[in-house]
C-alpha cells in the first residue's frame, strides 16, 4: 500500500489522479442524486405516521452521514500528513473542512425543518442534534485556524493537529452528550418511533446517499486541485499546464 500511495506525495501525480477521477465522481453524483431524489421525493410510498414530510430524509440522512464521514476522512488525512509529512495530505485537510462544515449545516438545517412538523419545535437539545452542532463547531475551529495563518503550509499543519485532537474527542463528545440527554430529559418526544425502514424507502435513500457521497468526492477533488495549483503556482509543471490551457484557448 505504501508503494502504491507514495507517488501521490508528489502534487503533480495527485493533480492528474484527481483529473482522472473527477468525471467519474461528477457523473455518478448526478446520476445518484437525480435518481435517488426523484425516486424518493415522488415515487417512494409516504410514511404511515409522518405522511409526506418524512421525504426530507433523502437529503437529511445522507448529509448527516457524510458530515461525520468527512470529518473522519479529514482526520485520517491530517494524521497521514503529520506522521509521514506528506504535503498533499495537508492540502486535503484544508479542502475537506469547508465541505464537511456545509454538510453538517445542511444536516442541521434539514433536521430543523423536519423537526418542526414532527416534534413541534425547530430545535430540541436532543443528543444527536447537540453532537451534530458540536461537530459543526469543530469544523469551524479547523477552518478558522487554517485561515488565521498567512503561511498556508504552517496553516494546514496546525489545522491538521486540531483535526486529530477533534477526532479523539468526537466519540467522547458523542457519548457524553447522549448520556447527558438521557439523564436530563428521558421522556420527551425527541425520539419518534422509527420502524425499520421499508425496502421501497430504503433503496432511494441508499442511492441518494451514494450520489451525495460522489458529489462530496467531486467537490473535494476539485478543491484539492485548485489548492494544489494555488500553492504550487511557481512549479514548472503548473506553468506548463497553464500554458497548455492558454495555448488551447489561443487555438480556438
Amino acid at each position: 500500500m505504501w508503494k502504491w500511495l507514495h507517488p501521490y506525495a508528489k502534487t503533480e501525480a495527485t493533480y492528474h489522479l484527481c483529473e482522472k477521477l473527477v468525471p467519474w465522481f461528477a457523473w455518478l453524483a448526478v446520476l445518484g442524486l437525480v435518481v435517488g431524489n426523484i425516486w424518493g421525493l415522488a415515487f417512494a410510498p409516504s410514511d404511515y405516521q409522518q405522511g409526506d414530510s418524512f421525504r426530507i430524509i433523502y437529503i437529511h440522512v445522507p448529509s448527516a452521514m457524510l458530515s461525520m464521514g468527512i470529518y473522519a476522512g479529514m482526520a485520517i488525512a491530517a494524521f497521514v500528513g503529520l506522521v509521514w509529512q506528506i504535503k498533499t495530505a495537508h492540502m486535503a485537510v484544508a479542502t475537506m473542512a469547508p465541505v464537511g462544515a456545509v454538510m453538517t449545516f445542511i444536516a442541521l438545517f434539514t433536521g430543523s425543518i423536519w423537526g418542526k412538523p414532527m416534534w413541534g419545535t425547530w430545535w430540541v437539545w436532543d443528543a444527536r442534534l447537540t453532537s451534530e452542532l458540536i461537530l459543526l463547531f469543530l469544523y469551524l475551529g479547523v477552518i478558522a485556524l487554517y485561515h488565521s495563518f498567512d503561511d498556508k503550509q504552517q496553516a494546514s499543519k496546525a489545522a491538521g493537529i486540531i483535526a486529530v485532537v477533534g477526532v479523539v474527542n468526537l466519540p467522547i463528545i458523542h457519548y457524553s452528550v447522549e448520556w447527558w440527554n438521557t439523564l436530563h430529559q428521558g421522556a420527551t418526544i425527541t425520539k419518534f418511533d422509527k420502524p425499520s425502514i421499508a425496502p421501497e424507502m430504503l433503496w432511494p435513500l441508499l442511492i441518494s446517499l451514494a450520489g451525495m457521497a460522489c458529489f462530496t468526492g467531486y467537490v473535494v477533488l476539485r478543491r484539492l486541485q485548485s489548492e494544489i495549483i494555488r500553492r504550487e503556482i511557481r512549479r514548472p509543471w503548473v506553468i506548463k499546464l497553464a500554458e497548455e490551457v492558454e495555448g488551447g484557448k489561443g487555438a480556438l
Binding site: G141, L145, S148, I161, V165, I173, S176, V177, L183
Partner: protein, 222 residues
C-alpha cells in the same frame, strides 16, 4: 535534565507572581460573571442552587480562556521557546512543567475562591464538595488541552476568540460530567462515576497533550 526542569518551574513561578495582575484578572472576571447571574435570572435561592454548578463551571472554563495565553505567549515572543528547542531539554517535558505551573497558579486560586462562589449561589455542602472535587480533577484537563491550542495559536497575535472557538467544543464532555456530578450531589446520589470519567479524560490528556503541545510549538516556530 532535572535541574533544567526545576529551573523552568522556578522561573515560571516567579514570572507568574511578578505579573500578578494577569493572575488576578481571570479570578475577578470569574467573580463578576458569577455575581451577574443572580441579577440576570433573579435572586430566588432555589433557582440559583439548581443552576449553580453549571454557572460556576461555565465561568471557570471562560475565565481559564483569558489566562491560557499566558502559558506560551511571552516565551514565544522573547525567543525563550526557541532556546528550549535548541537545548537538549525535551520540549514535551518542558511543556509538562509549564502546564503544571500554569495549573497551580491559575486554578488553585480559583479553588480558593470557590467557597465564595458557592456561597453566592446558595450551594449546599454536599454540592460544594462535589464542585471542589470536579474542579480538582477536571481543571488539569483544561490546562492540558488548552496548552495544545495555545501552542498552535501563539504566533498569530489574535489568539483570544480563536482560542475559544477551538477549545469550547472540546470541553463539552468535561462540562457535562462535572455539572452532572454536582447535580447528583444535590440529590444525595453517588457521583463517583462522573468523577472517574473526568479523571480518565484528564489522564488521557496527560498522556497525549505534552507531545501534541511540543509538536504544535514546533509548527508555530516554523
Amino acid at each position: 535534565m532535572n535541574k533544567a526542569l526545576v529551573g523552568i518551574a522556578k522561573r515560571d513561578f516567579s514570572l507568574a507572581f511578578r505579573q500578578s495582575s494577569e493572575l488576578l484578572q481571570p479570578l475577578i472576571f470569574c467573580l463578576l460573571v458569577v455575581s451577574l447571574f443572580p441579577l440576570g435570572v433573579g435572586p430566588g435561592p432555589v433557582t440559583l442552587q439548581k443552576i449553580s454548578g453549571g454557572i460556576i463551571w461555565v465561568t471557570a472554563i471562560l475565565s481559564s480562556l483569558l489566562g491560557l495565553e499566558r502559558l506560551f505567549r511571552d516565551d514565544f515572543r522573547d525567543g525563550w521557546l526557541e532556546q528550549v528547542s535548541l537545548s537538549d531539554c525535551s520540549q514535551s517535558l518542558a511543556a509538562v512543567v509549564k502546564i503544571t505551573v500554569h495549573w497551580l497558579t491559575s486554578f488553585l486560586p480559583l479553588l480558593l475562591l470557590s467557597p465564595l462562589l458557592a456561597l453566592f449561589l446558595n450551594m449546599t455542602m454536599s454540592m460544594y464538595t462535589a464542585l471542589v472535587l470536579t474542579l480538582l480533577i477536571g481543571t488539569p484537563l483544561i490546562s492540558l488541552v488548552g496548552a495544545i491550542a495555545v501552542a498552535l495559536t501563539v504566533g498569530l497575535n489574535k489568539g483570544g476568540v480563536l482560542l475559544a472557538l477551538l477549545l469550547l467544543p472540546i470541553f463539552t464532555p468535561l462540562l457535562i460530567f462535572a455539572t452532572s456530578a454536582i447535580e447528583a450531589a444535590s440529590l444525595n446520589l453517588p457521583y463517583v462515576g462522573q468523577l472517574a470519567i473526568i479523571g480518565a479524560l484528564t489522564l488521557l490528556a496527560l498522556a497525549f497533550s505534552p507531545f501534541a503541545t511540543a509538536f504544535a510549538l514546533k509548527v508555530s516556530q516554523h
